[in-house]
């Protein structure tokens, strides 16, 4: 038995691969549910109804998908250029704390239509700044950016913890470490009344479209893909590798920072150190499930959010720990890697 590279990748297989991967992950996670002594199909049924069964549940799922789309895009655009940004979690938090700092400051005297885009930009810049550190270390000292961007996540969360326990602490929070709330007119308008769903969803979808066009239709898109496929070849062909990577890092870090900004302005209104249940890390899964395609990120984020929101309801009803959602999406990352492999190779005897 041996593996043979396919001459071309069959389109049907490429399209089917995420579906097969998710199905395989659900089967494997089903074994864990069965091991816990619960009926598997009923559990999955309850996850679906928990995520979409009521109007409220559906809006909650879309709310949860919003930051996942942005962190998923952050990972997708970076990975496409083989820039391993695993620091989206830290960039998310820096974006969030930046918004909390400016949105509760004298700047909040500005009218909403000026303030909201300003805060978006500030959050994105904070995320960018954090991503430029590992990139600089890579370009200047040849340090693998995976480990540095990972380590910076811990630094960023501790920095946020220091801020909300210090200069940005809300004096009205009964001693809880949380930041001062952003001004009311900095909060994002709701998409649907009496729900938490806010216009951040539209921003995230628009971002996916813009990134898609950027990658498919511009010189920068071509250069960033070339940088990922074959860095030496790209340099030989005249691609300014360093400059391309800086742009990719800014986009990637910026999107993750924007995700943090939008989460503060759309959902919470203030920052705590549990603002993100691992959105940065889940973004990696979302990007891989989407096969790094910006439009696919939208669907992959919806799947991931469905698992997380649905598992909450299922867990309450059936006594299966909510961690089953984390297990399932992590498994789907692994199965997706294998599925992508079999779009490129086949087994020959």
């Amino acid at each position: 038995m041996r593996l043979e590279r396919r001459e071309h990748r069959p389109l049907a297989l490429v399209v089917l691969s995420p579906i097969l991967a998710v199905a395989a992950a659900l089967v494997l996670a089903g074994l864990l549910i069965a091991a816990a002594g619960a009926p598997v199909l009923e559990a999955y049924g309850r996850i679906l109804t928990g995520a979409f069964g009521t109007r409220l549940a559906a809006t909650e799922t879309l709310t949860r998908a919003t930051p996942l789309m942005l962190t998923g895009l952050a990972a997708a655009i970076a990975f496409r250029a083989r820039l391993w940004n695993i620091g989206a979690e830290g960039q998310f938090y820096l974006g969030a704390i930046m918004v909390a700092a400016l949105g509760s400051s004298a700047l909040s005297g500005l009218p909403g239509p000026v303030l909201v885009p300003l805060l978006f930009a500030a959050g994105a810049i904070a995320g960018m700044a954090l991503m430029l550190v590992p990139l600089w270390l890579r370009l200047r000292f040849s340090v693998d950016e995976v480990v540095t961007s990972l380590l910076l996540n811990f630094v960023a969360v501790l920095f946020v913890s220091m801020m909300i326990d210090g200069p940005l602490k809300d004096p009205l929070a009964f001693g809880w470490p949380q930041s001062m709330p952003v001004a009311d007119h900095a909060l994002l308008p709701k998409l649907i009344e009496r729900s938490r769903l806010h216009i951040g969803l539209a921003v995230a979808i628009a971002a996916a479209l813009v990134i898609y066009l950027l990658q498919a239709r511009t010189v920068f898109g071509l250069q960033s893909r070339a940088a990922g496929l074959n860095p030496e070849g790209a340099v030989f062909a005249g691609v300014p590798l360093g400059r391309t990577l800086v742009k990719v890092a800014c986009l990637s870090g910026g999107l993750a920072g924007l995700a943090g900004a939008i989460e503060v302005m759309g959902v919470k209104g203030y920052v705590t150190t549990d603002l993100s249940p691992g959105y940065g890390y889940s973004g990696i899964i979302v990007a891989m499930l989407a096969n790094l395609n910006p439009l696919g990120v939208i669907a992959a984020a919806l799947f991931t959010a469905t698992m997380f929101v649905g598992a909450d309801g299922m867990s309450r009803a059936m006594g299966i720990p909510t961690y089953i959602a984390d297990v399932t999406v992590a498994l789907s990352l692994l199965t997706m890697l294998v599925a992508i492999f079999f779009t490129q190779y086949r087994i020959r005897r």
């Binding site: 984390d326 297990v327 492999f341």
Partner: protein, 313 residues
């Protein structure tokens, strides 16, 4: 200044250095073994978490402490097998596979823990490894309490570091390991099967990582809680680079790192007005600094992160 001298001159600090270093020694050696064969294993953070959970769970359910360590090691080897299957046999991205293993292993740990141990206001505990006073040596003034009253896994970790240094540089097995990581094609030509070597190195390395995790719940602490590994795995990956992929230096690096960590913990009590988060950031910033200093100087295994397929260049 005298306060700082007092810290360095206390036996407690040096005892803490060895205690803090132990999981890092296990983890760094595990990562080093795997990378020496040519495969980066970013599953380390999750494998350590799983080792911490499963080792503790075994002891909590009545196994003795060493059985707990063994169960952890076996679970680590299993995750290593998955990583090897995906990165060696299929040649998938070592970065993404490793991260996937980390996300999977840590969430699986939390799932199993929550399922088998009911929620309680105080986490359930086990009786951990007790410090062993080395006869004779532990009675020495200062050096005795500082170095010779550790738990057995700590001594074991140091012994494994010395053993690995010997195996890597002085045995045919070590030569096969280094060849697989430097030039698998040449290794194959010499009758070494790089694929088998890589499978073995990844699985043995992952077992060491899991034992490092189990040290946390069976010796350093006595209970398991989510996120307890706190980036130690990533720090180990940085320490491998700092050690320039040499086991002896890995031991030294882990001890040096643990010294700074133990030192800053004690410095916190002296410098009470500095926010404690600054101190907690130090290990991570220190790791990044160590990487920046060493990355260019370190001698990277030449075939690190290059998948090997027979008959393909």
């Amino acid at each position: 200044m005298s306060a700082i001298l007092d810290i360095v001159a206390s036996a407690g600090l040096w005892a803490a250095v060895l205690r803090i270093a132990t999981p890092l020694i296990f983890g760094t050696l595990g990562a080093l073994l795997s990378e020496r064969s040519g495969v980066l294993n970013l599953g380390i953070e999750g494998i350590m978490t799983f080792g911490a959970m499963v080792g503790w769970l075994a002891v909590f359910n009545g196994a003795d402490l060493w059985t707990g360590m063994l169960v952890a090691a076996a679970s680590g080897a299993l995750f290593g097998l998955v990583h090897a299957g995906m990165t060696v046999s299929l040649g998938l991205s070592q970065h993404v596979t490793g991260l996937g293993i980390t996300l999977f292993a840590s969430s699986l740990s939390y799932y199993i823990f929550r399922l088998t141990v009911p929620l309680a206001s105080t986490p359930p505990t086990v009786t951990p490894f007790q410090p062993i006073a080395v006869p004779g040596l532990s009675d020495l003034p200062f050096v005795g309490p500082a170095l010779f009253t550790q738990t057995l896994p700590t001594y074991l970790s140091i012994a494994i570091a010395l053993l690995l240094a010997y195996v890597v540089y002085r045995t045919p097995l070590g030569l096969a390991l280094r060849m697989s990581g430097e030039n698998p094609h040449a290794a194959e030509a010499q009758g070494v099967d790089p694929i088998r070597v890589r499978y073995g190195a990844i699985m043995a390395g992952s077992a060491l990582m899991a034992m490092g995790g189990a040290f946390l719940t069976l010796s350093a602490f006595n209970s398991f809680f989510p996120t307890m590994v706190q980036g130690r795995g990533w720090i180990c990956i940085a320490l491998v680079v700092f050690a320039s992929w040499r086991p002896g230096r890995a031991l030294f690096g882990a001890l040096l790192f643990a010294f700074f960590d133990a030192f800053q913990l004690r410095l916190q009590t002296v410098l009470g007005d500095v926010p404690y988060q600054i101190f907690l950031m130090m290990p991570y910033i220190l790791s990044i600094a160590a990487l920046a200093v060493m990355a260019r100087r370190a001698r990277v295994p030449q075939a690190l992160m290059q998948p090997y397929r027979r008959g393909e260049r």
